[in-house]
């Protein structure tokens, strides 16, 4: 994957008038919008550094600015080529924004870019919460089987509510944990003279692995919370 720095170094020409492009988005000479350059990832296209910690308002600002450049509504009467570019770029821009604005999907996207291929998110239950999951499943099953007038029902309900609140805290902690890992990752990348140095690579892989694990934990906690909430609302849910 090409880094944004390398991309900027490659001079490209306008598809319409062949003028040299100063901006990857639009030709200065003939004002035609330009196709999304091959191999450009979402970060590069939005002109953002490939970092995990990003200011959300900055992502949004870039997204809105580029939406104004590319949106098909502005190209109703343009050349078919320009209409196609507008459609493809606007669609990818929307996808880019969706992917980058959310911390979890941003992390997954970086994992993908770094491993070069679509890396499956860890599917196995993280060992540190396995016991918790089994316990919760039993309580939820109990709750469903209890009669409304059974005093145990109310007790179980308040227990579940407490657990839900605890999970909510846990869930927020994973985000803080992710933040720390993101910062660490960004620091390693900033300090490295070459990303291909064996030591840097090892460090990088290690952090990405921990991010991966944290993301899996997050996913499971989220599911437990959703199931608990749904069960308390009286919905029938298939447990995990």
């Amino acid at each position: 994957m090409t880094s944004p720095k390398n991309l900027e170094a490659v001079p490209s020409l306008c598809w319409n008038c062949s003028a040299q492009l100063d901006s990857p988005y639009q030709c200065d000479r003939c004002v035609k919008i330009q196709p999304w350059p091959n191999g450009t990832d979402y970060f590069a296209f939005l002109g953002l550094p490939r970092r995990l910690c990003i200011d959300l308002s900055e992502i949004e600002e870039r997204f809105l600015k580029l939406s104004r450049v590319f949106h098909p509504d502005f190209f109703q009467d343009s050349l078919p080529e320009e209409r196609d570019i507008s459609l493809v770029n606007a669609a990818r821009l929307n996808q880019a924004y969706d992917t980058l604005k959310d911390a979890t999907s941003r992390a997954r996207y970086i994992l993908e870019l770094e491993s070069g291929a679509k890396r499956k998110l860890k599917k196995t239950v993280p060992p540190e919460i396995a016991a918790e999951i089994i316990e919760l499943q039993e309580i939820l099953a109990d709750y469903v089987s209890l009669q409304e007038n059974d005093p145990a029902k109310a007790r179980t309900k308040s227990d579940l509510e407490k657990r839900h609140a605890a999970m909510q805290r846990q869930y927020e902690e994973t985000l803080e944990h992710l933040d720390r890992l993101f910062a660490e990752y960004d620091r390693v990348m900033d300090e490295a003279t070459s990303p291909f140095e064996p030591e840097v690579r090892k460090k990088k892989e290690d952090i990405l692995d921990r991010i991966d694990q944290t993301l899996a934990t997050r996913l499971y906690i989220k599911r437990m919370m959703d199931n608990t909430a749904a069960t308390l609302e009286g919905k029938d849910v298939s447990l995990l």
């Binding site: 809105l64 939406s67 949106h71 509504d73 502005f74 459609l87 929307n94 996808q95 924004y97 969706d98």
Partner: protein, 628 residues
Amino acid sequence: MSVSSEGRQIVVGIDLGTTNSLVAYVDGDTPRVLADDDGNALVPSVVSLSERKPAVGIDAKKSWVDRADTMVYSIKRFMGRSAEEIGQDRRYLPFGFDDDENHLIHIQIGKRTYTPPELSAMILRELKKRAARHFAQPIVKAVITVPAYFNDTQRQATRDAGKIAGLDVLRIVNEPTAAALAYGLDRKNKQTVAVYDLGGGTFDISILKLSDGVFRVLSTNGDTHLGGDDFDHRLMEYFITKVEAKCGQLPQKDARTIQILRGEAERVKIALSKEKKTAFSILLPGLSPVTGEISRSELEELIEEIARRTVDPCRQAMADANLKPDQIDAVVLAGGSTRMPLIRNLVAEVFCQQPYTELNPDEVVALGAAVQADILAGRRRDTLLLDVIPLSLGIETIGGVFSRLIERNTTIPSSTEEMFTTFVEGQTSVDFHVLQGERELARDNRTLARFKLSAIPPMPAGIPRIAVTFMIDADGILQVRARESRSGVQQTISVQPSSGLTAEEVDLLIKESFEHAEDDFNARQTAEAVTEAKTIIRAVDKSLRENADLISEAKRAMIAAAVDHLRKTLAGTDHGAIREAIDELDRVTRDLAEKMVNRALHQALKTNTTLNATSKSPPGGQPSKSRP
């Protein structure tokens, strides 16, 4: 053709409503609705299909009871719907449905049946006529609004209606989004807005973020079969029980009775938005009159359960946008039903704030449609709408599971690709079933299209790599491509959901409509040419009388012949012939016109008056037009 006097394209915005419809345009920078000569902007979405005198709008509504059996309305509730989806509605309507045909709704009036797009097209044609009159030229391009929660079939039905009416539908825009455009046009500050849109037949809730002219929809939800009509039905039931109590028998179930009950229900409902109580009186044929009084709280008791059905979609939309009520800066109301105090209280309760009520809820959607029309006409670059798809899109995978490729509330345009493979050893073709909806099983969602990817070389199960790409454009039209990457075989289809009409039927209806449109257009052209010709003949006669000495006898004879010829063409309806005769007269009088100008000039100099005299129209009307 559709170029206005400034050489600009006219694109109008149309709100095709369940109860009322409107057409609007942007005048300079301000969106405006177009009213009729009496100042009515609303065109009742009512069609009277009497064989003697079919009518649309106010004219149709006039014979509400007299021609009850020719009356069709609430057509929007049946757009893109199958017979079993109409449910209870038929009990409260004066017209019948013909369910014989496979699942499609046909509305029966007299001996004929009509499809909902055909009937909607009649209303659209009325709006088109209104706009054409206003701009004194035919209108062909339009933006039409639909409920945000309309599915693809319902949207396609609306598109078809536009086509049948002879309109080039540039865009189908979601109603709450349009309302937000109208609300936020002059507001440049960043804010989050909810639009609560409860019309005659449909309910939508959309949450948008406004920042510096960009209107981004965060989430949308709704119910396409919930609105003022349902409140009317409850009131009709209430009246029926009153009639039964007083007269000891149920009223007849004929068109006339239904119209009387519905008319009174609508009137009472509207009155109770202003008054605390109102009198009602029901005069049914063959029964003694039933009168009484109903209070607002009695009405609210009847309809509260229905009104509460809007609460869950609101909560879901907030959850999808990841927002709490206190993060919403304003709640904008659209749709006539939001005038009801019960609804306003409900909105205040759900969003923990008083709704914004400064805008006319009947007009706000049409005004927003006009703004989007202005953008698409290329006249406005400071405003941009980023809308979403209301329902998830995906394909059926093994075991009848619905596998989503594009989630609901995804900003459009959007594209996505996912890899699939085969399940059976040596499988050489794969059937794709494209669906729309939120349910887990394919069979619970709505089918959009089916297609087959064939000629895959035989391979063990799980080895083929089939990339399925969904591309949805700014218009919400989906294109699906499936490609097996090992062999390179591929199949692309553009998903064109059926509206209930086949392509051939739509084409036939379009053809009929264009033929009529041609008639209308010709008639107007002829009328204009005749008026112009008469003016010119008068001017030429006068000039000849006053200035005959300026030209030769032969020239005078030529002019007389040209006038004579023009008079003859006026008897026919061929506006082309009239125009030619006008041009000919113009040509033969040119000489006279010049001499008259000179004479006037000399006289002016002689009498020392101003040169204004030369600006008097020379004979021939508008010679400047044909001269280079």
